[in-house]
Subunit: 146 residues, 2 copies
DNA sequence: GTTATAATTGAAATTGAATTTCAATATCAA
DNA sequence: TTGATATTGAAATTCAATTTCAATTATAAC
């Protein structure tokens, strides 16, 4: 947590920005939840800490957190953008059930390695990736389909 | 092409829908381009064939094409949705340059295999996946960054 | 401290792609 | 032919994402 804050502070400083009271509250709220929040979700959480914070600030701070690699955005349902922790977390994939919407997070060093190798073939310098595997989760694939 | 049309026709029939003149024009226009089109792109193409076709019909037909696995949607820039062929095409990945926007399509049977294996561990039944690798293309990684 | 400069904020407005509505047509089955 | 249903295109709507703007606050220079 303290770590994430100093990363953010360093990032802001480099950009000539300040770690304001609002930004700190928003960052802490984000770090404090393991959920994959939407801007609105985070806004609601933050609101409890400090009534006066607005949507715009949450939105903008989330954007800064992505730029600083503390957070990353993802889109599980094709509608709203969600955010998840990136700092201190391995790159992972989402296995998303197209029926019930549940998702599983998974990691595989071998897949990572192959992705790097693939990119190398194209002299492509990887910074990140987004892998979403779509299908049916255990429960939903058991159930008879209608 | 003829193939894709019969796939679409069969799909529509199963759903109690018809292969109308408009839908056929739209499908053919889509099949006829190798570009990753937006609904607007396709609308413009289709317009040349038949003036009177509207955005809504293109949008709805594209949706049907996705349902029938002739097409699949993708989002390269985080803004507009684009559509690419799926029927008769291997699952592939997109290496997207975050600087110039160019993208490369790539395939890797080994990555495919590992994804399947990964899913199996969770008893997850894969129907498709979307893998986007973000980074810098050959040209952009050469250039000095500002 | 005072003043100039720049960053920050929250409310509200705007944007723009995606989607739906609706009335008019067209199509099919009996 | 007639009734039921699907289809269409224009326009309207939705809604998340983003920007605007005037007010406020922090920072730096003096």
């Amino acid at each position: 947590m303290a770590d994430a804050i100093s990363v953010f502070r360093a990032f802001l400083k480099k950009k000539g920005l300040k770690l304001t009271r609002q930004r700190e509250i928003i960052l802490k709220a984000f770090i404090g939840t393991e959920k994959h929040v939407t801007t609105d979700d985070l806004y609601e959480i933050v609101k409890k800490k400090k009534q006066s914070i607005g949507h715009a600030t949450v939105f903008r701070t989330l954007k800064l957190m992505c730029e600083s690699d503390l957070a990353t955005s993802l889109n599980l349902d094709g509608k709203v953008t969600r955010f998840e922790h990136k700092y201190g977390h391995e790159q992972h994939y989402h296995l998303v059930c197209t029926k019930c919407g549940k998702f599983i997070e998974a990691v595989d060093p071998e897949i990572e390695r192959l992705q790097q190798a693939l990119a190398k073939r194209f002299s492509f310098k990887v910074t990140s990736h987004k892998l979403r595997i779509l299908g049916l989760c255990k429960e939903c694939s058991r159930k008879k389909r209608r």
